[in-house]
Structures are given as C-alpha cells and as structure tokens.
C-alpha cells in the first residue's frame, strides 16, 4: 500500500476534469445572470461527459452572445451577426450532423432583430440547444426595453413598457420546437437538470432562462429583477434526471411523477407540483403560459417535450458521414454521369 497518494482531480466518464470545460474570464458585470448560466452549462456538459471538441457554440450579438467565450474553450465557437445565429447554426449542423450545437442568444437578439430566424429554426426542429439569456433589456446599449419586457415593467429612467411581451416559449411550442423550457439563472438545480435533459434530446431545445441584468434591470418596478422573479417563480414540477450511463433504477410514483425517456436513453423525471399539467400536450402548455401572464407568474419547468417528432436532419435523409468530410469520390459524380447529362442536352 502506498503511503502517499497524490489526490487525483475528479473526472467525468470520459476522463476530463471540470477545468477542461472552462473558458475565458468573463467580462460581464458582477452578478450578471449570464455568468450563472455559463456555470450551469459547464457543469451539464461535464456531467454528461460530452467531449468539448464535439461541441459548437454559436451566438448572435449582445451581452448574452459574448458569453460563449467564457465557457468551454476547447469547443469551436462562432460569434455571428445580430439576430442571425440560427442560420449559421443551421448551416453548421447540416455540414456536420454529428456535432452538438449550442446556441446562445438574448432577448433582443432573439425576439426583435432575430425573430424571423428564430421562428424558422423552431419550425425546422434542427438538433440544437438554443438558450435565450433573457433579461428584458438591451444591456450593451445601456438599458433599452426588449420585446420580452413585460407590459408595465419599469426602466431605471422611469419609462414604463406599454407593449405586451413576446413569450418565446409559447412561440417555440406553437412553431415546432420539441423541448421547451423556462428557467431562472438563480434556480441552480432546476436549470442544471433541465440542461442535462436538453443535451439528451435530438431536436430543437428552446430554453428561455430569465437572467437578471444587475446593471439596467434589477430595480423596483422591473419584472425581470432577481427579487421579482424569486417572488413570482411558479415551478410546474421538480426535475430529476438520470443519465443513460447511470445504470440505476429509481422508483417513482406514476401518480405524482412523469417519466420522459430521452433520445439517448436518459430519463427525465418530473415530480408534479401542478397535478394536471401534461408537458406532452401542446395546447395545454400554451394555454397555461397565457394564464401565467395574466397571473403575473414566472412559470418555470419543462413546458413541452416531444421525443417522437422527426428532426431536420432526419427529414433531409443525409448520409451518415458528415457532409463536411465526405471524400471527393462521394461528391463528384462519374465521367459517365456527365456524359449522360450532356447527351440529354444534345
């Protein structure tokens, strides 16, 4: 027996430490909700044992879209143009369908300038985890309202928002996203669990994460402040997640819990807090969301999940090998093929 053992750092199932999932130092404001989300992302990828080299991080423009620089430095990343990350992500996933795509956007980037591409990303059910770091304001331009700001919410300057908020979750559900959730950057356990489940899903995951802006939208009168969200959060269920590589059977009561088997075989357990909520029912989900606006609740949890709908890659019927790395022999038809084309035109 060795007397002295150097303590080995903890590793995940592929032998990486959590440090291998870290990124650069954040330049966002202290206390920014986005930093907490970055931490949860690091933990989720680490715990799921996904090699960072197999991940791409994509973002648009804004505070949220800067954050991919602050986690998973071993992953390729693309900080694109404002509101257009979905198209860049779509192209990348088409080119390499084996890759895990993570899109980071903000409420301005998604719900205003990027609403068109957002809508069509959801509609295609492209395999991607799309996170909106949602604080209701434009941070980088110093605090103007965004389109997810709630009716009646107040800016620091005293300006009251007089337009209704766009509910990105309701929109995503209606448009065809197959895993839709809302969470709160301050709800560590829920967000962490939801992210792990998201990584087990093959289709569009849309997570709207309320992420307070400590500088421009954390004051009295704001509906996206830490205090307001803590006071008004209404979780639909407690989440538990058993990854496919954990071979443990956990008992659960069908009366109080719902079990969802994810694409990779992992299990998402929703311990019901609202007994009649069924996250596989689209109509009910949208109805409940609309009701939550009227009640001024911040409804959180997995709002909708569908593990049977085909995703965009399934629909295209592409060859297994990524298009990006197909050899010339697979992408240049034969001489005879060209001759055949020419003959038809003679």
């Amino acid at each position: 027996m060795a007397a002295t053992v150097t303590p080995q750092p903890k590793t995940n199932r592929i032998g990486l430490t959590v440090l291998d999932y870290r990124g650069g130092k954040t330049t966002l404001c202290a206390g920014c909700g986005h930093n907490a989300i970055s931490e949860r992302i690091i933990d989720a990828f680490y715990e799921m044992g996904i090699p960072p080299e197999r991940v791409i991080k994509l973002s648009g423009i804004g505070c949220s879209s800067k954050s991919p620089a602050y986690f998973m430095g071993r992953s390729h990343s693309f900080n694109a143009v404002h509101g257009r990350m979905p198209s860049v992500a779509t192209g990348a996933v088409l080119a390499n369908s084996k890759i895990v795509a993570l899109g980071i956007s903000g409420d301005g980037d998604t719900a205003s300038i990027g609403i068109g591409q957002f809508v069509h990303l959801m509609r295609r059910n492209l395999p991607i985890v799309y996170i909106i770091e949602d604080n209701g304001v434009y941070g980088l331009t110093k605090g103007q309202f965004s389109a997810t700001a709630d009716l009646g919410s107040k800016l620091k300057t005293g300006v009251i928002n007089d337009l209704p908020a766009i509910d990105t979750c309701a929109l995503a559900i209606m448009l065809g996203a197959t895993f839709v959730g809302r969470s709160f950057s301050g709800d560590k356990k829920q967000l962490h669990t939801m992210l792990k489940a998201a990584l087990s899903h093959r289709g569009t995951v849309m997570l709207d994460v309320i992420s307070p802006c400590t500088t421009f939208n954390d004051h009295e009168g704001s509906t996206k402040s830490y205090k307001f969200v803590k006071d008004h959060e209404e979780p639909l269920h407690d989440l538990d997640f058993v990854p496919h590589f954990h071979d443990i059977a956990v008992e659960y009561d069908e009366g109080t819990s719902l079990n969802v088997t994810m694409h990779d075989g992992s299990s998402l357990r929703l311990r019901k807090l609202e007994h009649d909520y069924d996250p596989t029912n689209k109509v009910a989900a949208v109805k409940r969301l609309i009701e939550s606006h009227e009640a001024q609740e911040v409804l959180t949890g997995v709002l909708y999940v569908n593990t049977t709908a085909p995703n965009f890659i399934d629909m295209i019927n592409m060859t297994e090998q990524p298009l990006a790395t197909l050899p010339e022999s697979a992408t240049r038809p034969s001489r005879e093929a060209l001759e055949e084309c020419m003959e038809e035109l003679r």
Partner: protein, 612 residues
C-alpha cells in the same frame, strides 16, 4: 390556294430580294402562360438540329399568365448569338401587342398574323401571311380547353413550311420537348402538322428567308446558364445548398435539385448533400457561412435584392474568413426594378459588399461552359482564400438557351485549402488562426469537430488578433486589415485571367465582360467591315483585375469599357486600379434598357465616340 393580300402587299419586295439564308431573326409575340415557351423551344431546337448556329432570347414579363411576352430566335451562319436588334420575321400571336409589334418592324420584314386581326391593313411595306389559328386548332384539338396550349404549335408548322425547315427535325424536337407527356406530344405534333399543311395549301412564299442545313452544331448542346451552373456545382462537389426563391436565380437551384437527386444519392440511398429553402436571403447566406465554417462546400444563388440583404453576412464572411459561393444572377435594379430583365447592375456593389473596408472576389462567366467551370473555380478559390466568392452571372446568361460545346469533366482535384487535421495540430502543438505563416496572407484553419484539445478557434465578427481572440488593440486591428488587403493581392494571382480575344496593337481597345461578349465579337467585325476601324478586345473574367488588363489599357490609345448598367460600374472599378496616366483613356459604353445587349448598339456608340 394563295391569299390575295400577298399579291397586293408583299410581292414587290419579295420578288426582287435575294434569298436570305441562315441569317435572320424571328420574333414570336405571345401571351405569357399560353404554352408558347414549348413552341419556341421546338422552333429553336429544329434550327439547331439542322446544324445552323442559333440563339434564343426570352423577353418575358414579371407575371405568371396574361401579360405579353416575346421570344427572339436568331439564326446566324457566322455564329453570332447575341440578340439582333432588327426583327426580320414576326409571329404575331398576341392581339394585345400585335399592332405595336407590326408597326415597329423595318420595311420588308415578314409578319405572320392571326387572320381575324387584319394586321395587313396597318402597313403596305411588309410581307403578311394570315393564319386562321382558331379554325386550324379546332380541327386538330377537339378538347376546347386545351386549344389555347396547342395553338402556338400551329405557328411552328407554318414557320417550318415558310422557312423550309425539315419536318422530321421538328418532330424530333417536339418529341424531346414532350418526352414525358406522350399525349401532349401527339396533340402538339398534330397541330404542327396542321400548320404546315395549311401553309402548303394556302400560302405562297414571297419572303426571302430560308433555313438551309449546315454542319455547325454537331456534338453541341443547348443549355441555359443556370442549368450549366447547377451541373458545374454538382461536379464541383457542393454539399450544402441554400436558397430563397428569386427571379432569375430560382431555376439554378431548382435545376440543381433535380441533378443532385439523380446523381448524388449514395449507395446507401442517402443524400450526399442538403438543400434548404431558407426563410430569406439573410438566412440563406448565413447557412452558407455556417456550413463553410464547418467545412462543407456550400453555396447559394440569388439576385440583386437578395444581394442587398446579404451585405452584412458578406462582411462577416470576409472578416472571419469563411469560404462560401454566392451566385448573383443579375437583373435590373434598383429595388424591384425589372425583375425579368437583364443587367450587369451589381458589379460595384458586390465588389465592396458590406460596411467597413471590404473587397470580394468576383468571377464573371460569359457562357454556359464558363458557368460550369467557374462553379469549380469558385469553390476552389473560396476554400483556398477562405473567403466568400461571388459568381456574377445575369438573367440573359442564366435563363436563356445557348449553344455550347459539351462540358469537359473536371480533371483537377478539389482544392480544399489550408485545413489542419487533429494530427497536424498535435504535431504543431497548436496554431494561430490568422497568422500569415506562408507569406500569402492566408492563415490555417481547423474545422469544428476536430478532435484535439488545441484545435478550437473562436470565429468572431468582432475585432480579433492572430489567435482569433477578442481584441480592440489598434495594432491588432490594423495588422489584420493589412493582411486581408495582402490576401486580396494573393487572390489576384489565383483568379481566372482575362481572355485576350484580339490583341494586335490597334489604337482602339475594348474591354467587356459577361454576356456582353457575344455582342462584342460581332461588334469587332462590324467596326472593321463597315467602318474600317480595327479594335482589340479583352474580356474580363474576374475581379480583382490582373496584370493583363492593366497592360491592355496601357497598350491602347482609347479603351472602351462596355457595361450593362447606367453608371459604367466596371469602368469605375478599373479607374480605381489603373495608373493615373491611363484613366483618361477609358471611355464608357453603356447598355441598360433591360434587353440583352446587341452588337449594333455597341458599334453605333463606339463609332459615335470615335467621331466617325
């Protein structure tokens, strides 16, 4: 039985004129959506099959059905295939425009018209042939709702008889046209025959126009530039195609879809490609860049309005240095402009597309064969230079039918540029994405998914240093921009060289590009034979310009630059690049009425500027 009016109106011209063989133009005026395109194609192909050089130009409205459309077929024994300005033989099928069509003809031209329209009363200096279309069509097409569609084939039969076309060739062309529709082929063939029989029994030929067999088209193909671009892209190994429908580029991708379905399904029954109809051109080009970043050969096709939307992404592609191919099938702008008419209107815009300092590589095909080869060139250049490459076609090239030599199989392997594998990264211990290692200002890149801890780099449209890290340092920014400028110099050495069509030390030089080429070869002949003016001619094939172009300008006293736009866009670009002493030599010839450029207009303009 001859109609009496021929004796009255046509005989005096017809009797004294020498036969005009294989050198005239036919214009067919029809109503959009009436099946006229099939009839026109059959006529074009018949002449082609008889070995006579021929070209067809469709002048159509932005409309699905009901508005006037014109199709011009030019037979030219000398092989001139540009649009001919003067119409020799009019087929007036459209009552709406018939009057104006007839009035615009030159004296001595032929007008074939629908008998009840009595067009013969309009002029006395033309040759008129009446055709009772309704009567003939009713006899061969009992089903009244189909009559509108076969009516046009009747004119094909009449014209065949009058021009002495071989009906066996008409039948061959017609059966090719309706290859997949046997019933329609039969119906149309009967209509063509009925027209032919009518002409035989009821018309006396008094015009001088004839088609005689030649042997100038054997082995050649007929194809539009968009289909050629599609075939070229498929053989270039494109894997990701994105698009948003817009005239005149839609047929490029639609044709590509058909070819890819036929030739790019792997042995496993799975596609070796993805084609996505995007929500708009912003998304189309965003997907191209995403796919190019991830390592795919990706492309989109669009026209002016789409190019406008792509401006922001074009700058991103330039600055982040991502390959991608964008076909711009140019049409008349600004704004909606004339969506179904041709122009070279996007040259200066695309050259600098984006805010900030940006320069783009443009390839400029003149023929379908060049659409085919430049499809490969564009991908090779985009990947070697790690930048978006634009192929500047136009509506005339893209949508009209052209004779072409068959395309040659691409012998050159695909050039995928500087991409590091995991093994390369391991050997090097890491890399700096934007470092100019080789002195050509092109860095090395890795693709997402490369399995090495040091393989990742951060693609960002924000300021960055050599390691692709965020940087606002003045020297990082300036050094990077300077390297990008040097990379454009590298591009200059890689792009297709111009074609020196004639360079015999004349005083006058002409520079043209794209579809203007076909008018220019005719103009060069017209200048010499009609005015005794000898001119040299250089055809540009790419931007940035290369040494040959500068030397050509330096070597001539006066250089005409032919543009199909109002502002002389290519001339303006040349002015920015050439020696100051040479700027004064440049003279602009511009054609911008939406119609394909013709030789006569160019000749007249040059002669006028020459003071002759």
């Amino acid at each position: 039985m001859a109609t009496t009016e021929l004796a009255v109106h046509g005989a005096d011209q017809g009797a004294v004129r020498e036969p005009v063989v294989n050198n005239f133009s036919i214009q067919v005026a029809t109503v959009n959506g009436s099946g006229s395109q099939s009839a026109n194609t059959v006529l074009l192909r018949t002449i082609f099959q008889m070995g006579v050089p021929v070209s067809g130009k469709n002048m159509f409205p932005s409309n699905i059905a009901g508005l006037p459309t014109w199709y011009t077929i030019r037979a030219s024994k000398k092989g001139y295939i540009a649009r001919k300005k003067e119409i020799d033989f009019l087929v007036a099928m459209n009552p709406e425009t018939a009057r104006e069509d007839v009035l615009s003809l030159g004296p001595g031209a032929v007008a074939l018209y629908d008998e009840p329209l009595k067009l013969n009363e309009l002029r006395s200096d033309l040759i008129f042939y009446p055709v009772p279309y309704d009567k003939i069509t009713a006899a061969v097409c009992p089903e009244s709702k189909l009559r509108k569609l076969v009516r046009n084939m009747v004119y094909v039969g009449v014209v065949a008889r009058l021009l002495n076309l071989d009906m066996a060739e008409v039948e061959k062309a017609l059966r090719k046209q309706f290859a997949k529709k046997v019933k329609a082929a039969e119906l149309n063939w009967n209509a063509a025959k009925a027209g032919y029989d009518y002409a035989t029994s009821s018309l006396t030929k008094v015009d001088p126009f004839f088609i005689e067999r030649m042997n100038e088209t054997s082995g050649k193909i007929i194809i539009d530039g968009n289909s050629a671009a599609a075939i070229g892209s498929m053989f270039a190994g494109v894997t990701v195609v994105t698009w948003y429908p817009i005239t005149p580029s839609s047929s490029l991708v639609e044709s590509l879809i058909e070819y890819m379905k036929a030739y790019r399904i792997g042995p496993d029954g799975k596609a070796t490609f993805a084609i996505v109809q995007a929500e708009d051109e912003l998304a189309a080009v965003g997907m191209v860049l995403g796919a190019g970043w991830a390592g795919a050969r990706s492309m989109t096709a669009t026209a002016g309005p789409g190019i406008s939307l792509m401006a922001e992404f074009a700058g991103l592609g330039y600055y982040v240095e991502i390959p991608g191919v964008i076909w711009d099938i140019q049409r008349v702008g600004p704004s909606t402009g004339l969506p179904t008419r041709t122009a070279q209107g996007d040259i200066s815009f695309v050259a600098r597309l984006s805010h900030g300092d940006t320069k783009h590589v443009m390839l400029i095909p003149s023929t379908p064969a060049e659409c085919f080869t430049m499809a490969s060139d564009a991908f090779d250049l985009a990947e070697r230079l790690q930048t978006p490459v634009f192929v500047m076609s136009d509506l005339d090239l893209g949508m009209n039918n052209w004779m072409s030599e068959p395309f040659q199989y691409p012998e050159k392997p695909q050039q995928r540029g500087k991409v590091l594998s995991a093994e390369d990264v391991e050997r090097l211990g890491g890399f700096s994405r934007y470092k100019d290692v080789d002195g050509d200002a092109i860095g090395y890149r890795t693709l997402p998914g490369t399995e090495h801890p040091n393989a990742a780099w951060f693609a960002r449209g924000s300021g960055h240093n050599e390691k692709s890290q965020y940087s606002e340092r003045p020297d990082d920014y300036a050094n990077n921009m300077d390297r990008l400028a040097r990379k454009f110099e590298t591009a200059r050495s890689m792009v297709p060289r111009p074609e020196l069509v004639r360079n015999e030390g004349c005083e006058v030089g002409i520079i043209a590009y794209g579809t203007s080429h076909h008018a220019l070869v005719e103009t060069i002949d017209q200048l010499q034979t009609e005015y005794g003016v000898k001119a040299d001619y250089l055809r540009l094939r790419a931007y940035p310009f290369t040494r040959e172009s500068y030397e050509f300008i330096a070597g001539h006293k006066r250089v005409y630059v032919v543009d199909q736009n109002r502002d002389g866009q290519m001339m303006e670009l040349l002015k920015l690049d050439i020696a100051v002493a040479d700027i004064g030599k440049l003279r602009s010839v511009r054609h911008y009425n939406g119609l394909p450029i013709d030789a006569r207009s160019v000749t007249d303009e040059i002669i006028s500027q020459e003071g002759k």
